[in-house]
Symmetry: C2
Subunit: 351 residues, 2 copies
Amino acid sequence: MPRRSKRKTAAKLPDIRAVAAIAKVSIATVSRTMNGSSLVSERLSKRVWQAIKQLNYLPNTHARTLVSGRSRLLGIIVENITNPFFPELIQKFEEIAVAHGYEILVSSTNSDPVVLAACARRMLERKADGVAVMTFGEEEPVLDQITHRGVPIVLAEFKLDDPKASTILLDYSTGIHQAIQHLASLGHRSIAFLSGPHSLHSAITRENDFRAAIQSAGLQLQKKWIIECDHTLKGGVAGFEQLSKLTAQPTAIVCSNDMTAIGVLRAAYMKNLRVPQDLSVIGLDDIDFAEFTLPPLTTIRLSRADLAHAAFDALRAQLEDSGNPRMQREFLVSTSLVVRGSTAAPSKPEA
Amino acid sequence: MPRRSKRKTAAKLPDIRAVAAIAKVSIATVSRTMNGSSLVSERLSKRVWQAIKQLNYLPNTHARTLVSGRSRLLGIIVENITNPFFPELIQKFEEIAVAHGYEILVSSTNSDPVVLAACARRMLERKADGVAVMTFGEEEPVLDQITHRGVPIVLAEFKLDDPKASTILLDYSTGIHQAIQHLASLGHRSIAFLSGPHSLHSAITRENDFRAAIQSAGLQLQKKWIIECDHTLKGGVAGFEQLSKLTAQPTAIVCSNDMTAIGVLRAAYMKNLRVPQDLSVIGLDDIDFAEFTLPPLTTIRLSRADLAHAAFDALRAQLEDSGNPRMQREFLVSTSLVVRGSTAAPSKPEA
DNA sequence: GTGAAAGCGCTAACAA
DNA sequence: TTGTTAGCGCTTTCAC
């Protein structure tokens, strides 16, 4: 009994066999044509494309993945999709991926390592060819399961000891130094820092870079002026309120991200403090919205485009260059200060 | 020659056969166990789960999809992922989908019908079980290809004449009426409207509802006070500037979405107009950020949670209830006014 | 260049 | 209840 005896002429989507039948070629030729194999003659190729168009045929990616092992699916896991930084990053990443014939799988962890593990698992089940983990150094150990399965992975600011893992190093230092220099040259001597949650490596890195920058600028580091927030707008409001309870007040506040800075802007307004006359504020990220705050936010730009490119390049290197021992496994993304309206000389310059 | 003669003990991921071997059962029993079939005895089920754990086995979704025809993949296509409304919607939709064992595929069209068509095509190739098109009435004709293939689809504010298509009706009218009543009771007689792009059905609906509300409140409709913007912050700034060139000025502005309203807030500030004393502003959407603008934005809430639920329910009805002729195919999401700080009585009440 | 056929990992029909 | 097996739609040897 022939294997395909069950085939009936039921209404169903056209498959590769239907195309082959119309074009009067074998299914192998259809497959070769679609995949751009050079071995197909002009004559047959033309017939095949015509049949494809005629049937409005779309190849089944699952069948394709099953046999080839490659899904042309790239995962991107972000920390929190409601922080505007991430949609902007996702958009860029998708743009690049689609341009290269990949599709993306998006997940947001909301900073929950359990969710991260579930996301990673789902991406593994979907056989993602690679995964970009843009959670900035949070609980990455759960990601072992990905690399153990040989799936390329790229992490922001976290090194996994695995040949399949690449890292994007973020040079916050340059931007933060520029920020401190900018404030110092304006006459600020008292600068506070609203940090991100210490569960994030990136938050700790940023804070350390701030400390280093303060010292290299010859300024005093005040422990009480370094406050742990959570990278949300509300957190920025709370951080500012905590700060304003202190007896000694800073004349400028540098924030670990833009959302925090926007919270500060808002809290300062509510307290009738004028920015930048009474208080200078600097953010970090340069989300699209930063240009439109009141006043427009001076901030340290972390380019989403650069980050998305680095992530994609890292994954692609792993995918295409895997054997090569000299393959690039570390990528650098830099930061730089963007001066807008939220910084100015302090009204009563300090000693 | 047996079909599986090629099998070598090469290093590879565990498959269902490996699990079956360890558990000493057939692959069918493994499959049944994983899919929660009630036909498996406790004893075998236990052995299977243990083997799965031992091998760290993950089922291959592509193989599963290929044979079952269901991918457990749901697509969501949004208009613009950098408008905060959409990430909030995506997050909710993902949450619901994942809770029901579905995965989501996200795409953002940036209001480009060509991109919409490409997104739809990719989702078809990935065999999405259903697609939620949250582009709010923009160039939906290209979506014919989806319904023609029998894939359930749900659209916001657009009816497709196809049994596989459901619609989410948005009742802007209630919220917009409340907004106008609110302004009228505050003493406003001169109310402008900054519309969304007329390429969007939803924008036109909102504008019409505004006109209706103005008239039913017994106010005068001024043609010059209805300006087409583009639902972006920049568009709101531009719209406000266009408005302020007119000789007769409104005392309140209702905007077609929150981003536009935020643009107005900003533009008003730059012109030294105080909100709400000199000008009242109302948005629409109630994005998370609306609570944190300066002043906090009075706005018409369009709940992302409600919308996400409606979209998921519509798709699920199609998936599970397909045969039923009484299946619900229209879903309603309502709106309501949220009063915050951007509205007040006009300083010099009109006649 | 082109075609025949094996088989990717799983589900479901059928047999036992 | 459990096992055997066909076959989902495609890519990829291997012949010719």
